[in-house]
Symmetry: C2
Subunit: 244 residues, 2 copies
DNA sequence: AGACGTTTAATTGTCTGACAAATGAAAATT
DNA sequence: AATTTTCATTTGTCAGACAATTAAACGTCT
């Protein structure tokens, strides 16, 4: 674990990289305690604040956790799926908002991935996931629901669909795609009729998953993808006509 | 942008969160310059090192970039897909290695997602992506190739397949799933015959993509998924018989 | 001897003040 | 007008200090 002593800038980044590489390579196993900040400062021949900046970088990625006290220190953190969800969602959301990704592109990605999950969800769905899907579909019919709450429920429905596949890797990868769509979906105003149609499709999807009918689930998801795209296009068309 | 002054611990985490929320909400647009470290220290009523630790946390997530000099400072960074790839791959790799994710689970996720891409890749593939796929398939036939190099080429082939879909959101989401599989694939020893079979499937996939035959591409991908699982199971079975 | 409070040492979290390095803008010079 | 020099601003780094936390070691009392 060495750093370049000739480049006196970005020392904390170099130190962070050295430690990160050691973690990725397995040289530092989970729950291993790193040397104390003072020791590392001596090892790398830098000051303690510089070491601390490096540690904070790693903490931001959940690669380490710190504990105060006599037996405290920095420990290699077991990165859990739940911890990674948040980062994944944050990153995905910012990627979409900062790169002018079109609704069509994001929507296409999301439904392509969800349709990949559907067959697995159909074969493995638990009562729990089905109940969540039903509950969210029911919530979406409540008349007083704001558009934002409707979107949030939509996300919850689709996450339950994804989670029903029982594959944590899939759930993790799709968390970003599904949740990052929410800000984009929030731009759409849902009429009572469009809500009805969406909920009908949601119900059909839940029915298909319950019946373990992968083909039907895929077909309804495809229909939902098409309808969502239509809604978005109408919104865009309306805005353009207002401008013109 | 406020922090809790009553909790004197984790100040840098609180400050980082406040700034991160401001970025996500759009209150701080891309390329906006944050106040200088000294100013923020005064604003949040903390010392400069504490502010710096907060900024390093954000820098680790590529949310800001810093620049020295008179007109320097910390700027909200436009998060690019290329920047996010690296983080996504690191996180995915660690998730798999630290959570004892089985080869079967990871493999299932990867091929499910790739099959979701295949129809889009078939309809949109460019000459460039096709050339990459062909080149990698060809490389995989070289006799002197180490198992590691074979796996690396495999990853390159599949990334080209995914990128051919022309959807950056999909490419980003799948980068993690595809690349994180590499350490797991590296545990497999590929015989000459198994390599031949894999390359044959790769070639079939490339042919199907070139012919814009989504159904054929899907079928060959499914076959590849099955065969990869078989290979892994053989390795596992061999190890268990050695133990027993 | 054992249970319970006390001290103590180690470690992270934070603060203060300082200097070096980079960098663009302003001022001075040619 | 062009070029060089100076300068102010800002980040990067360092040194030393103290507060807060924590578990282990130690003492004390029953």
């Amino acid at each position: 674990m060495k750093i370049d002593p000739h480049n006196p800038a970005d020392l904390s980044a170099q130190i962070a990289k050295a430690i990160r590489d050691a973690i990725i390579s397995g040289a530092l196993p989970v729950d291993e305690r790193l040397p104390s900040e003072a020791e590392m400062a001596e090892q790398f021949d830098v000051s303690r604040p510089t070491v601390r900046e490096a540690l904070k970088r790693l903490a931001a990625q959940s690669l380490i956790r710190t504990q105060r006290g006599a037996t405290g220190g920095a420990f290699v953190n077991r990165l859990r799926f739940e911890d990674a969800y948040g980062q994944q969602i944050t990153t995905s959301t910012l990627l979409l908002s900062m790169n002018d990704v079109s609704f069509a592109t994001a929507c296409e990605a999301r439904y392509a991935l969800e349709r990949a999950c559907a067959p697995l969800s159909a074969s493995r769905r638990s009562a729990d996931h089905l109940a969540t899907m039903r509950a969210e579909a029911h919530r979406q019919l409540q008349p007083g629901l704001t558009d934002e709450a409707f979107c949030a429920s939509d996300v919850a429905f689709h996450r339950a669909l994804v989670d029903a596949a029982g594959n944590p890797v899939l759930s993790y990868q799709l968390a970003g795609a599904v949740e990052a769509m929410q800000p984009l979906m929030n731009m759409i105003t849902f009429s009572a009729r469009s809500r009805e149609k969406i909920v009908a499709l949601h119900t059909s999807i839940a029915d298909a998953i319950e019946a373990q009918d992968a083909q039907a689930a895929d077909a309804h998801l495809a229909a939902l993808a098409t309808y969502t795209q239509e809604l978005a296009q109408n919104v865009i068309a309306e805005r353009q006509s207002k401008r013109g």
